[in-house]
């Protein structure tokens, strides 16, 4: 019973930390995928008096593609309302319209910077960024992502605190054994073998538990998310990589905490 209690005292904070990390991973994926989706759809319209010969002319901005909007298409809609001579004149006087696709979806601030940058180019008359269209959902997702990061950091700190407390208890329980082994020339790591063993067992248990939980959540995401939101979320893949991250976190946090406390124990003794 005592062993079980100390096992859970160590495993529970680790699992809570890993679950928060999973939520962070999922939200990150959703935001990232949504970013890709809106970046593909999103473009800036730029109006210029002269044609551009190269994309490089728009310096400092990561551009995926620039498409020129054909004048014929623009004139097509008003052709019937104008005389031939007016159409000719319009054709000559109409500026060049460009549709600029960016490599990544910018924040509102970045978008304003891009707009200012573009407007400084000579002969550019106007730049339309259509900021409000995409920013509402995107900002909400960014807000959720930030909240999750803060939540994860808080959980991480609390977990480290609880984990270190449990490791300290184990050091205290094993202090006699540790000192006997050290008297016989055993290193601190060797004499702390039982602590390392229970830590590894707890970490592996946590990894298995959280990986199953993550797998089940991803495959049954419709149970947790409303259908209208679900439509916005592309399919989440690359779970293997996420499980690897979980494994790294589940092993590194207890190990680093243990090493810190082991050094402290050595200094104190």
């Amino acid at each position: 019973m005592k062993h079980l209690r100390s096992f859970f005292s160590f495993t529970a904070p680790l699992i809570i930390m890993l679950v928060t990390f999973c939520i962070y991973l999922i939200v990150n994926k959703v935001v990232h995928n949504y970013k890709d989706k809106i970046t593909n759809d999103y473009s800036i319209i730029m109006v210029s008096n002269t044609p551009f010969s190269k994309i490089d002319e728009v310096s400092g901005i990561k551009i995926r593609d620039i498409k020129i909007l054909k004048k014929d298409k623009i004139i097509e809609d008003i052709r019937n309302e104008l005389s031939d001579s007016s159409l000719d004149l319009l054709n000559k006087k109409l500026p060049y319209f460009y549709q600029i696709y960016l490599e990544e979806f910018p924040t509102t601030l970045k978008l304003e910077e891009i707009r200012k940058e573009l407007i400084t180019i000579s002969n550019v008359k106007r730049v339309e960024t259509f900021t409000s269209d995409h920013n509402k959902v995107y900002s909400l997702l960014i807000l959720i992502q930030d909240i999750i990061i803060i939540l994860f950091v808080i959980t991480l700190l609390l977990s480290i605190l609880l984990i270190s407390k449990q490791i300290k208890i184990w050091f205290f329980e094993q202090s006699e054994r540790i000192s006997i082994i050290q008297l016989h020339g055993g290193s601190l790591l060797y004499s702390s073998k039982p602590i390392i063993k229970i830590m590894v067992t707890s970490s592996v248990t946590s990894i298995i538990f959280v990986s199953i939980l993550l797998f089940l959540t991803i495959n049954n995401i419709s149970l947790f998310v409303r259908p209208e939101i679900l439509m916005l979320i592309p399919k989440i893949t690359d779970l293997e990589f996420d499980i690897l991250k979980i494994m790294l976190l589940a092993i590194s946090i207890p190990m680093v905490t243990f090493l810190g406390l082991a050094i402290q124990h050595k200094v104190n003794s």
């Binding site: 082994i181 016989h184 020339g185 060797y190």
Partner: protein, 220 residues
């Protein structure tokens, strides 16, 4: 084997427990360190296995200078020591067998060699029937015999014993004295025993250092 020159021992730089101690213990010697309670016998022994660093002077044990801070050399020294304590210092969740195996494991002995060695030692200390028992299931005398077996397991060059018979009845104490004498006589191990009760038949045979008021001197 052990050379101390002008060593001063103290806890937390308070009162000096040993002052300017000088002594030399040769290889394969059997030596007693005696003195009244609180005279600093155990403190001196602590310095011999590196638990307490001398404030001044030089202390060489098995050619390792213990006045220098070198954790790796200290581990090396301890691996080649056999230590016996008054309170046995057996690991409670290890069986008798596992306790004796400890120094062999620390030396990475082969399993087969280790098991044979443990078998021989259990036979030597007459505890073969208690191999699977835990320390709490043994009497004080038996626990000290396990402690002796552990100290002998890896054929150390030096055995340090701190009041090895302090908690034992007369019979159990005589068994431990015999084991210590055999270790020295038959195996050529240097033995340093801290005690305030030296058996009569040992008294005239071996050298004895006495500690009185922080001063170490060889008693005649």
């Amino acid at each position: 084997m052990i050379l101390a020159t002008n060593i001063t021992l103290t806890y937390d730089n308070k009162k000096n427990i040993i002052e300017n101690g000088n002594f030399h213990i040769h290889e394969k010697e059997f030596v007693f360190i005696s003195g009244s309670s609180g005279s600093g016998k155990s403190t001196l022994l602590k310095s011999l296995y590196g638990e307490l660093k001398a404030k001044t002077g030089h202390l060489f044990v098995n050619k390792i200078d213990l006045t220098k801070k070198d954790p790796l050399k200290l581990l090396k020294l301890r691996k080649n020591l056999g230590i016996v304590f008054q309170d046995y210092k057996l690991i409670k969740d290890y069986t008798v067998e596992e306790n004796i195996l400890l120094p062999l494991k620390l030396h990475n002995y082969d399993d087969k060699v280790s098991n044979n060695q443990v078998k021989n030692l259990l036979n030597h200390v007459q505890l073969t029937h208690k191999a699977k028992a835990y320390p709490d299931e043994l009497s004080g005398g038996e626990q000290q015999r396990v402690s002796m077996a552990r100290a002998l397991a890896h054929n150390p060059a030096l055995i340090l014993a701190d009041e090895p018979t302090g908690n034992l009845d007369e019979y159990s104490a005589s068994v431990i004295w015999k084991l210590l004498r055999d270790a020295n006589k038959l195996l050529g191990i240097t033995v340093v025993v801290v005690t305030h009760t030296i058996p009569k038949d040992f008294l005239l045979k071996y050298r004895r250092f006495n500690i009185d008021d922080g001063v170490i001197y060889e008693a005649s």
